[in-house]
Amino acid sequence: MIRLFTFIWQLRKSNFTKALITIHYLFIISFISNCKKNENIDIELINKIRLNSYDDEGEFDIYLEKFYRDMNFYGVYPQKPKKTIIKFSKLDELKGTTHIHGLSLGYNNDELIEIYINPSTWKKFNKPLKYWLMYHELSHDVLNLEDLEQSTINDGKLMFPNLESYEKKTMEEFIESYLNLIELNFKKQ
């Protein structure tokens, strides 16, 4: 939204029609490829996401295992939940979530990890992007962290809410980003 207002302000002196078209375009762009926690999704949609989900056949186990490993190494010991659900769900086939790579529903609930990943996204993503996505969602669900504000100062950080499909991330960037998250949010015990 901040980007949107900045752009509108810059365009106010130019042609009105051009401005309208640009605003419309920006509005669409800002909703592309978000990683979300559940605050803006209604219960009906959540139920559809759950119904539309299917097993990952162990695909996500390694990410969960490594997440706890890495947190513990740096002295962060989050509670392990009684129930863990990490599945695929065809988010791009549901109205309201077509733009979403991954969704966390266990935010602020330490008894539960519930994460759904868009399989179309997963197929396209390379290794660093997969790690990025999983650690982002797990940081919502396990560490109860919010998304960062969508501003340029937070661009490139793990909890930045947008992750474009065409983005190139490296393992180096992923490692640095979650180390940065730990440094900012936790101290080594």
Binding site: R69, N126, K127, M171, I175, E176
Partner: protein, 292 residues
């Protein structure tokens, strides 16, 4: 056209009886050879100007006639001659270089330098890239490497050994172990540039299980990933037999894995002879994912 002279180093075989030869020993040897060959007609108008030594190199000098013409395959013929006469093995065993200087009208017109590796019967060529992607023991690491030609490629026996390349008593292993977390290249580079930290890591890597002597260690890069290069000598007991292994290894910090490329030989001569080959193998390693 005069033929390229074939040279005899018989004196070398007679003199050497000790297991190791120092630079001082080489000086004495050169002196002894020099006394016997200086001024001698070697055939085809070639006259010996004597023999000296520089470091670990025996240097033979010759005066050649004005109509002397150098043949293009001169080095190969010399190498063959040394092998046929049985002296090549001594040069390899004692890690001695040999150089030949040719003078025409007091001007140096040709030099031929021969290293122990030139005299080796080992093939220094590498084969095609071998990938370990999706190998059950790769722990998710995707890398490819070129094994040496004519070496046997086998599966590793132990849980962390992915592949091994074998030739006689020489081996090259690819070992992959887990690190406790992800380490960024930036942080590892910073850590390993500190000499004290590097030394600590090197000691950890060689371990305490066997009697290992750390001969040298340094920080290097292997396909853009920080690594520690170690040379060590290890004595161990196997089924009641005492074995000494000469090893060079590259321990690469790759994400959350420690990849060790370990080359070893049971004889010091073979180890020195093959060190360049081990370097070539390691240098051929590629981590393809970083280029995606």
């Amino acid at each position: 056209m005069k033929k390229f002279p074939l040279l005899i180093s018989l004196f070398f075989c007679i003199y050497i009886s000790a297991q190791n030869i120092s630079e001082n020993d080489l000086k004495k040897l050169a002196f002894s050879i020099n006394k016997k060959i200086i001024g001698k007609d070697m055939g085809n108008g070639v006259v010996s100007l004597g023999c000296t030594s520089i470091g670990r190199t025996l240097l033979y000098k010759y005066k050649v006639p004005t109509n002397w013409v150098d043949l293009p395959e001169g080095k190969a013929r010399l190498i063959n001659d040394l092998k046929v006469r049985g002296v090549a093995k001594s040069y390899i065993s004692y890690n001695i270089n040999v150089s030949y200087y040719y003078y025409k009208n007091n001007k140096l017109i040709k030099t031929i330098n021969i290293n122990p590796s030139d005299l080796s019967n080992y093939n220094y060529e590498l084969g095609k890239h071998l990938s370990i992607k999706k190998h059950p023991k790769s722990k998710g690491v995707n890398l490819k490497i070129r094994p040496p030609k004519d070496w046997e490629i086998k599966e590793g026996n132990r849980p962390n050994i992915v592949k091994k390349f074998l030739k006689d008593d020489n081996t090259y292993l690819i070992v992959i172990k887990n690190l406790p977390t992800f380490f960024s290249r930036k942080h590892m580079k910073e850590a390993l540039k500190d000499k004290a930290t590097l030394g600590e890591f090197a000691k950890e890597i060689i371990g305490k299980e066997h009697k290992s002597e750390l001969l040298s260690h340094s920080y290097v890069n292997v396909d853009n990933y920080p690594a520690i290069f170690i040379k060590q000598k290890t004595s161990m007991e196997r089924l009641g037999f005492k074995i000494t292994q000469y090893m060079s290894s590259w321990s690469v910090f790759y994400e959350d894995k420690l990849i060790t490329l370990m080359a070893s030989s049971s004889s010091e001569a073979d180890f020195n002879n093959l060190l360049n080959l081990y370097f070539l193998i390691t240098n051929s390693l590629v981590f393809p994912e970083q280029y995606d």
